[in-house]
Symmetry: C2
Subunit: 162 residues, 2 copies
């Protein structure tokens, strides 16, 4: 960013910028274990996870609602009415569906656009992007690298000064 975008908050530029409210957040590599990614989300109660490519750059953002898709058999995704007639065996072995698979294997096609904001984006810009993309997380990118993540609740806390 330019020098006027620094952390000094001079009185003539008081607006909050994305990089100031971005937080560190667990990320998973695209070729890492899908089961480990799902466990990470479950254990830390995350609203979603950032998936990075081999170079460590943001590749996708997986909302928690789409990570749960990992445990739904394909034929149930195609016909949800089948979920109710699954045997207990299938329902109880949902974790096995993930064994040996990578995040890349289970990443839905429609999520391969990264909801990413520049480091100097405003709270309103990030909010507008989040609402439009229905994403619980926005990746904040600075100089082409992942700088941090803004969750919806973090964004509201910043906007409402909670």
């Amino acid at each position: 960013g330019q020098s006027t975008h620094g952390r000094g908050h001079p009185p003539y530029r008081r607006r909050v910028q994305a990089e100031q409210i971005a937080e560190e957040f667990p990320v998973v590599a695209i070729d890492s274990d899908a089961l480990a990614a799902a466990r990470l989300l479950a254990e830390h109660r995350l609203p979603g996870i950032v998936v990075t490519d081999a170079a460590g750059k943001p590749y996708a953002v997986l909302p928690a609602s789409q990570v749960v898709r990992f445990i739904v058999p394909g034929y149930v995704q195609d016909d949800p009415s089948l979920a109710g007639v699954l045997s207990e065996t299938v329902a109880d072995r949902s974790a096995e569906k993930l064994r040996g698979k990578t995040v890349r294997d289970v990443l839905p096609e429609h999520l391969r656009d990264v909801p990413a904001a520049d480091a100097d984006a405003t709270v309103i810009e990030v909010a507008a992007m989040m609402a439009r993309l229905h994403s619980p997380l926005i990746a904040v990118v600075k100089d082409g690298e992942l700088h941090g993540v803004i969750t919806a609740s973090r964004l509201l806390a910043a906007a409402l000064r909670v």
Copy 2:
């Protein structure tokens, strides 16, 4: 539910049911203060909130990504490119947009379907609904009343036995 759906888990019915993993969760009434609802979500880092009607029944589920819409001026929602040229004054006063408004006033039209599961739904049924509706929360309804809420991370924890 029927007697075989009880909490005794006899060996011939081991599958986990929605009511067993549902949790208590903050809810907001449709005619309550929109600013208070946004603060609740921010303070507790919730993935979303359940909106109830005057009778206390589930009316809508608001994902956090849609609550952030509350602070985005209407003209920016219509034309996101305007977000970058907002004056600092507008950006810094985003909370004032909510003052005096109720949740009903700011509830997006497209969210008025409640992602709700029956108390005896399976983990796979809830997961399939969550993935299809892109909802971070599913309301669990028993005998017509809100019984609790299942978040995506809670569902994964149950499925993966984290």
